[in-house]
Symmetry: C4
Subunit: 402 residues, 4 copies
């Protein structure tokens, strides 16, 4: 025991961490081989664009490339992220900074376990042999209803192997390769200069600008920058309000927003304005009453408040109230294409993915992100085929049982 104790030790966490790094060969190979394969055959099965898209190209030598991306990601992200076989919030519980859920990590874990409780009803006697996965959002054609979430803090949270600038280029650039868009994060601790650098990615690839719930003046100032960069929408991630203490230490203001505040912001821009981080029906109503174009149902990946419900548990109530008149986006624990399909069945019009994008960006830059998105798209198509869904624009609740 002396040796064990004195030299290395094994906690449940370090055990998993070590394991995932060491077992790259076996596990990742098997996982990625399966995962990437359908991506390769994607063009034939999907909505048959005249020429292979960039994403499909990126996926052309599929399995091999994705395997390499995950291997590199694991090396660059460890120990901030172990790139576990299943990204479920167990190994990284409490690691904020880092990529884990806050506190006991239950909010992150709840996102994943809530998704497990939503079962898919398999059906294969139908005529949906060529599911349509493209959609339109904020006037943009998306090749898949999946956006890259707003992620920041490459040093604070991800270990510092990528600059903020390179990361946002990987995210939005990868999204563009895959035919979709990404969100640009606003970091509490970042100088305004960093935010401006990030917005350059919107200039190149379009996308959505996200602003922390700062003072009204500061938000208005940043909204102008977002507009100037040519964003297709703007969001305030209101669930960052818990960072007020941390912000104050840095001489900044982060605060909850009143309905009046929100209305003022909505009126100050021509862009579609969304409140990001809504977890109750009453706050969704407040946001829409204030004029928001929609809401993002999200618990910030479980990183704001411990012990919230899983996102997909609260989504249906909000969506059934608002989905006809407003844009309902959502995120929380989406790792596979069929996870995205469940969110669509529960009322979201498109979803955001976060942690998989961190893997893709660190493992392969824009191409790595495109590979991840290509895998999600292939899985989405496969699960639509197996549940009888013709188009992501209209997914029946009957494909799931809760």
């Amino acid at each position: 025991m002396e040796d064990l104790k004195g030299r290395t030790g094994l906690s449940r966490r370090s055990f998993i961490g070590t394991a995932t790094v060491a077992s790259v060969g076996a596990v990742a190979m098997a996982a990625s081989a399966r995962a990437a394969e359908p991506a390769a055959g994607q063009p034939a099965a999907a909505s048959a664009p005249p020429a292979p898209t960039a994403a499909a190209k990126a996926g052309a030598t599929g399995a091999k490339k994705l395997e390499e991306v995950l291997k590199v990601a694991r090396e660059k992200l460890y120990p901030r992220c172990r790139v576990c076989p299943e990204c479920d919030g167990q190994a990284c519980a409490g690691e904020v900074p880092g990529l884990g859920g806050i506190g006991s990590g239950m909010s992150f874990k709840n996102n994943v376990t809530a998704l497990q409780k939503v079962r898919l009803n398999m059906r294969t006697l139908h005529d949906c042999a060529r599911p349509e996965v493209s959609t339109t959002l904020f006037g943009q054609k998306l090749e898949l209803p999946v956006l890259c979430a707003s992620l920041g803090g490459t040093t604070y949270n991800m270990g510092g192997k990528m600059s903020e600038e390179d990361f946002i280029e990987a995210s939005l650039g990868g999204a563009q390769l895959a035919g979709t868009k990404g969100l640009v994060a606003d970091g509490t601790q970042d100088p305004l200069e960093t935010y401006k650098l990030r917005l350059e990615a919107i200039r190149r690839h379009r996308g959505i600008g996200v602003i922390k719930p700062r003072s009204q003046q500061e938000i208005l100032e940043r909204m102008r920058l977002v507009e100037d960069a040519g964003a297709c929408a703007v969001m305030v991630d209101i669930d960052s309000a818990g960072r007020s203490a941390r912000a104050a230490k840095l001489g900044q203001v982060i605060e909850p927003k009143t309905p009046r505040h929100l209305r003022e912001l909505v009126r100050a821009t021509k862009l579609p304005f969304l409140a990001k981080g809504v977890m109750t029906l009453d706050e969704a109503k407040v946001a829409l009453d204030a004029g928001c174009a929609g809401v993002v149902v999200s618990n910030h990946g479980g990183r704001c408040l411990d012990h919230t419900p899983g996102v997909i548990e609260v989504l249906p109530e909000i969506a059934s109230y608002a989905a006809r008149s407003a844009v309902i986006l959502a995120d929380g624990g989406i790792r596979y294409g069929h996870d995205a399909l469940k969110f669509l069945a529960m009322g979201a019009q498109a979803v955001l993915v976060g942690r998989p994008i961190v893997r893709g960006a660190h493992g392969g830059g824009p191409e790595g992100v495109a590979l991840i998105l290509g895998k999600l798209k292939a899985e989405l198509i496969e699960s639509m085929t197996l549940t009888g869904v013709a188009s992501v624009r209209s997914v029946s609740r009957s494909i799931v049982t809760v």
Copy 2:
């Protein structure tokens, strides 16, 4: 510990994998000793055939032989299958190719956990001292209501230590030794020649031909081959439709079937035609309305779509609608004779077992498969004795509590 960390590492998966290989001595010995013992005494307790059947003979030196079969299977199948003490989908989650469940592996795991929630009501004050386990299916007498599932991809999924031809001979030949039948698989990636070779086993042992949901023309062509081989029934495993992308890459067509397609196929053969892979009542109705002789309630061992319900959860609704007029078969997580008994209580007329057959075939060819089936039969008889079931042809729902 230095070595452990530096050189190899332990993931949850490799940990279990290593463990099961290393602990053959202790665990497997205990398990198989118990398992095989009743098999040896089988003839006396069962429906007393005039002479010991081949299966009984194969089980005569029971425990020892089964132990050896599992040991060999473990060596041949590792790392594609660890031959875990409980085959529950934990260690192999996501390993497709391989023998695991697809994606997060939840569909495979759901099959097993759903079975755990069906409890058996033990009863021993009755006159069912000699339970009858034989039944009739497609005009064939079966010594037990258990069929060998359609399994293929010995190289793609099982590691390549057996040829497709040897495997199918082990499966159907073992079934014949045990007095039952097996299904013949159709592999997406296999040339037609391979399928023909497999059908040779039907010629020798009879059995059931399964065809992938290919183009109508291809299915019709293969149905002719199945008929010619003397099969007692034919099935299309419609739940393979999710493989369309993979098939396209190989220049083939795999697709969901419309009701019209199905009707066309049913009419084109005199054999009983079943749709395999039905998981909802509405699709069971579609299949029967199209003229199918029955359905196989199955999620393909959890290998098509992630996050489906466990099979035994959806079986009762389908069976209570259709069991009087149609053949209802089912599979999903059956490892013991009492698992089979639960499926019968929930409405199936016979069941399919898959992964245990892979063990038997790799560990001992036809005799290995017969040993596995003999163990299942002995356990089935024992559990019927302990629940008061006189015959597998009529199993009361009252023996289970859900």
Copy 3:
């Protein structure tokens, strides 16, 4: 990995096994220190007999002795039993022969987890400062409502470090030291001589004779022996009927009993006759209608049929039907005095404990068994004080919440 794999390996089971043996020092010491302590102070708190009972004496130097008993038991029983800190059926799942649950081990595990779901309502504002734990059963005064279960197969199941004769003396002798009684088992594989030797213990300490569900003739013959030995009751463990195949191999008959069979047996003896192994209300009714003096609600420690409910789940229905007019005993997962209290609250008049007795007998003979029983008694008193129960003869259902 080579080293790990080649030399030792770690399965989930061997891991636990090794651990519990190796960690005797730390874990067992802490556990037994706590456990035995109240036993020492027992006489003062209990129903104040004029002089310390033998059990109390045995517990006089409590913690130290119990610690030693567990240490010796662990050495003698390993690997058939690891004497785990919590005896919950995890480590030994499937080990029959051995001390585990049959098959997947779920029936054993269900006994334990079902008990966990029965919560105790703590109450300390009352006048039950001196709970009465003695009761009367079959005309015998018992110092605690806990009997030693019928256990056999010291070689077949327990590893062969004790003879059947020594074991039964430890069990019934220890029971007598603690002021209670034990049951005498009947082993399928044992010659009649062994059974007779066991009955000698009844001659010395009284107790209850149990007979396997053999042919009527054989049962009648053994009932005579039981009567002659001076037993206070006789039982047939009808749930052993599943062993018919094994018995047949040994040239014996083990079989389910019909109501007519049962009535014949009841009429053939003046002793109270109980059916042991009842798990449904309808079979309890059958037994009582046949004239049985009572039933033992039991799933045979999870060793007959896999996947039964936990015993405490089915007890209340049976007890509420029969407890006024019949003797209701029960067992299943009882490890602590408060487990026994729950069974009393759910309707049992007394309980049987099995595996803890195996530990006591192997670790310290009759004194070891008495120590175990003394610990259970002390815990029972403590939990009665903390739930406001004055006497074990009348335990209100209101002390538990399910």
Copy 4:
């Protein structure tokens, strides 16, 4: 591995124990870095006192100091407490003496898992940017609604690295630094002199005196000492009644209290008198009918009776009956500020924390305790901001979903 097996072994418990000690560097650093950070910025976000409080000062160099406190605590408390990353009762199950839950440890574990099932509804569209966390209890202003629980047995339970006197000074002194109060324990095994020494801490810092359910005479005697020391309230921890056997061995009386007993005690003091250890509505009624100023809903950290419900499960019923007219305090599994918030939402007016205080005291004396309380306060403020709670004096049930 040879060494590992031969010399030491790994139980689930020692594994975790070793791991947490060995992994101080990684895990604790990450955890404490996050935890302490908000504490540093606390003053700005909180109710803005004119000058930084002592607690805030103690937290000024936050993360670093807390990290050091946990490190020292782990060294001093091991193996009695492993200072696990999540203090959930798993590693220490059954360790009484020690810091674990009694028996199987389920009561401790139930406290934690019951808290996990109470979900927080995140809301950030409101005007609660500066939550008020101060409150008043027994005429005392508290800077946070969190009291240090009554803890004793530094040698018996905590390993003997601190004297009772130093420990109580750390607890009450740390509470004072943080602007709150602590409870003074009464140990069964301690001589009266020890109790008097503990009461000195009340003389210095005020606080609440707790007395074991001894004979009426002894309680009255100790109540006088508590009054003389200037306590603001007095409690009897009635749930200690289970220790009667142990007390008897030491020549003392510990017993359940009748309503008449309780009334006599209430009348004998001018101090607010509370019954500590109430777990049912009917006993809360008994206590209040006897004139108690309130009750502490508690299962004594799971250390009295195994298998009780989790405290937060029984709190709402009691609070909804009594909260308007009586003081309702509670404890059980509180590790984070948001745990405290849940208890307030479920009806408690303030909460007690125990095990975290043991860590703080052993790791850093009064300053260590103040750091722990500062962390809880910062987390409480953060979670109030994220659920829209303006003041701890009125927390709506609508912030939680059970």
